[in-house]
């Protein structure tokens, strides 16, 4: 029951006037980036990051995480009303959400989506409340070898379960590692990989990379296609909101199943996008009304939304307790933690109790604030969709440029940011996953240090990774995940010797 006491203490930190104001601001900004196509949670959080450098860490994380909740909700609004997913993770919501809204039930669709999203988020937060400190406690006993094994498992699960082409994931990961290695090596103190540019000694800040990859890159993808917002009515009928939410318990099986899928995919770095697709797919297979999916089924909205939010929330669990983010947005937030001078990982639960429990308590409050605000502001944000893209695009470019510059007052960073923009565009266009790239940039150094420290301990023998049960299990699981795509490929070949190459799935089109 220790956790509950800590949680109550957390509430006393989170529920103060300045923090509630930050939550409202964060959620509104989040809904804004969620609604605007070409901007999503990772972009929004990274655009806001430079402004938090001067803040208290608790306030800063409350602002950023509230923005995350807002973006998750905002993405669903446009999916349902416009058939334009504002976020990759809400693509699956369009399948049934838009048909239902088009049939004249936009309120039902929105309320069902928000209700199940709130349920998913709640399950995620409860999981964090009870599991995070326990995981952190276990992790406190970790040595460098165990840490490296956990990092290895995280990277391997991107390859095995990420859904993108495995070799492309590997390349993205390795590029991230190399970028993380640029600058002064923390172990030996020597300067690495500066390519003859002296200014690179300070390394490449992940903020610069994220601004380019997500900000400019996404913008370039979005500008390619002209979209027309053909809205269905965005009027909210309040009685229908309560009726729709009241009907949710009838679908409790779908709710629980989707929440479980979401939590699993969030903790292992599958991410919200993969979670929502998987949940939708499973719901369509197991639902009695599976044949009607795609025509405005309630469960077709519940399943992706619950999983999306459960995954988005629980992605913060490994970030807090192990220092390994479960999604791209969590990776950006973790980079923020390091900039604010905190060390993500189990020690947070010992050294920074106020920060951790303030954040967890703020998740409960922040999600309530988000549901209320998103319902109240649906008409406003729906109107925002009519602002032409040509006006928004230059503003985003300026925010990225200023953001990249303000990290360390360096012009080179701005130029690099633009370069990362091109890379982000190419990667997005060719389905290279961006999340592992960002993850590797953020924690590449730590993974390398853990590896080198364990090598020092074992005097160069790889046997240290098989020295005890825990570390062996982690490493073996990691290797299994790495080999999973290969095994699946071989199995497919063995079953159908001349099978035609698989066509790109709907999911591949939206992988971050």
């Amino acid at each position: 029951m220790d956790n509950l006491g800590e949680l109550l203490h957390g509430f006393s930190i989170a529920v103060t006037v300045p923090h509630l104001v930050l939550m409202v601001v964060g959620v509104l900004l989040g809904i804004l980036v969620g609604v605007l196509p070409g901007l999503g949670a990772p972009n929004g959080v990274s655009l806001l990051l430079p402004l938090t450098f001067g803040m208290q860490p608790v306030s800063a994380i409350i602002l950023l995480s509230s923005m995350y909740w807002g973006a998750l909700f905002g993405g669903s609004v446009t999916s349902i009303l416009f058939n334009i997913p504002g976020e990759p993770s809400s693509v699956a919501t369009t399948f049934d959400g838009y048909p239902m809204a088009r049939d004249g039930r936009p309120t039902t669709a929105l309320a069902t989506a928000f209700g199940s999203a709130a349920f998913g988020a709640l399950v995620g937060v409860i999981l964090i409340t009870f599991l995070a400190s326990w995981v952190a406690q276990v992790a406190l006993a970790f040595g460098p070898a165990e840490y490296f094994a956990v990092y290895f498992l995280a990277f391997a699960s991107f390859v095995g379960m990420g859904g993108a082409a495995p070799i492309k994931t590997v390349v993205a990961l390795a590029i991230g590692f190399s970028i993380a290695a640029i600058g002064i090596d923390t172990v030996s103190g020597s300067v690495r990989l500066t390519m003859g540019v002296d200014e690179l000694v300070k390394g490449v800040s992940f903020v610069v990379a994220v601004m380019g990859l997500f900000g400019i890159g996404e913008l370039l993808v979005a500008v390619e296609e002209e979209f027309h917002a053909r809205a269905v009515s965005s009027k909210i009928d309040w009685r229908e909101v309560f009726r729709a939410v009241g009907r949710l318990p009838r679908h409790s099986v779908a709710l629980l199943r989707s929440a479980a899928i979401g939590c699993w995919m969030g903790i292992t770095p599958g991410g919200p996008t993969a979670a929502s697709f998987m949940s939708y797919g499973i719901a369509r297979r197991f639902s009695r009304r599976g044949r009607h999916f795609g025509t405005g089924e309630v469960e077709g909205i519940i399943s992706p939304e619950t999983a999306d939010h459960a995954a988005g929330t629980s992605a913060l669990l490994p970030m807090l307790s192990l220092g390994i983010p479960g999604s791209a947005t969590a990776a950006v937030m973790m980079g923020g933690l390091m900039i604010w001078g905190l060390n993500p990982g189990p020690m947070l639960f010992v050294d920074q109790k106020d920060f951790v429990w303030g954040l967890i308590a703020s998740m409960y409050v922040g999600n309530i604030v988000a549901v209320a605000l998103v319902l109240l502001t649906v008409p406003v944000f729906a109107a925002l969709m009519r602002i032409p893209f040509v006006v928004i695009a230059p503003l985003i470019v300026i925010i990225c440029v200023v953001g990249a510059y303000s990290v360390s007052n360096s012009y080179l960073d701005v130029v690099m940011m633009l370069g990362f923009g091109i890379v982000g565009y190419l990667f997005k266009k060719l389905f290279y996953p961006l999340a592992p790239l960002v993850l590797a940039i953020v924690i590449g150094d730590k993974a390398e240090d853990a590896f080198r420290q364990s090598m020092l301990m074992s005097k160069g023998s790889l046997g240290i990774f098989f020295a005890n049960k825990l570390v062996t299990c982690l490493i073996v699981a990691g290797i299994a995940l790495l080999l999973l795509p290969l095994v699946l490929q071989l199995a497919r070949l063995w079953r159908k010797p001349a099978a035609p190459a698989t066509a790109p799935t709907a999911q591949e089109k939206v992988i971050i």
């Binding site: 913008l219 470019v397 266009k429």
Partner: protein, 160 residues
């Protein structure tokens, strides 16, 4: 028009080139095992090699006709390419102008140019938006967050 194949090829060459650079540079830092443990160049050498090998694989996959994705004939159409250029070229000019004109002047000019020149907005409205952008930047960064943005060589010459 740019085909999917050309795009895959270009990207694989790009990543592969980066990988080669990483490999070459890492050799300077020493590779292998020394009295101080694993040498600084070992890890980059490993990641660099993985990048090179992976890029080679992606290159072959992207070019071979059996790969389904290479059969998508057009990845970027001419119209899309012009839209891309319409966004990126002004942005690049904007970034290039910052050292000379400074952040405020450059961003105001940038907003004005992309809104007024293709006639998306009327000239007066574009002017207002440009001025508002520069002012907002000044208030938020210079005043509220005490971050000094570059004022540019031109402003320095004029004595600001």
């Amino acid at each position: 028009m740019i085909s999917r194949r050309a795009l895959e090829l270009a990207t694989a060459v790009l990543t592969g080139g980066f990988g080669v650079a990483v490999v070459v540079q890492s050799l300077d830092n020493g590779v292998g095992w020394s009295s101080a443990g694993v040498d600084a160049g070992t890890f980059p050498l490993l990641t660099g090699t993985i990048i090179v090998l992976g890029s080679l694989y992606n290159l072959v996959r992207g070019v071979l006709p059996v790969a389904s994705l290479a059969n998508v004939p057009v990845a970027i159409t001419r119209i899309e390419l012009s839209r891309l250029a319409g966004l990126f070229v002004p942005a690049a000019i904007f970034v290039a102008a910052i050292p000379l004109a400074g952040m405020y002047v450059a961003s105001a000019l940038y907003v004005f140019a992309v809104l007024a020149i293709p006639r998306h907005q009327s000239v007066p409205r574009a002017l207002v938006m440009a001025a508002a952008t520069a002012l907002a930047l000044y208030v938020v960064f210079e005043r509220m967050f005490q971050v000094s943005l570059p004022h540019g060589a031109l402003a320095a010459a004029l004595g600001f």
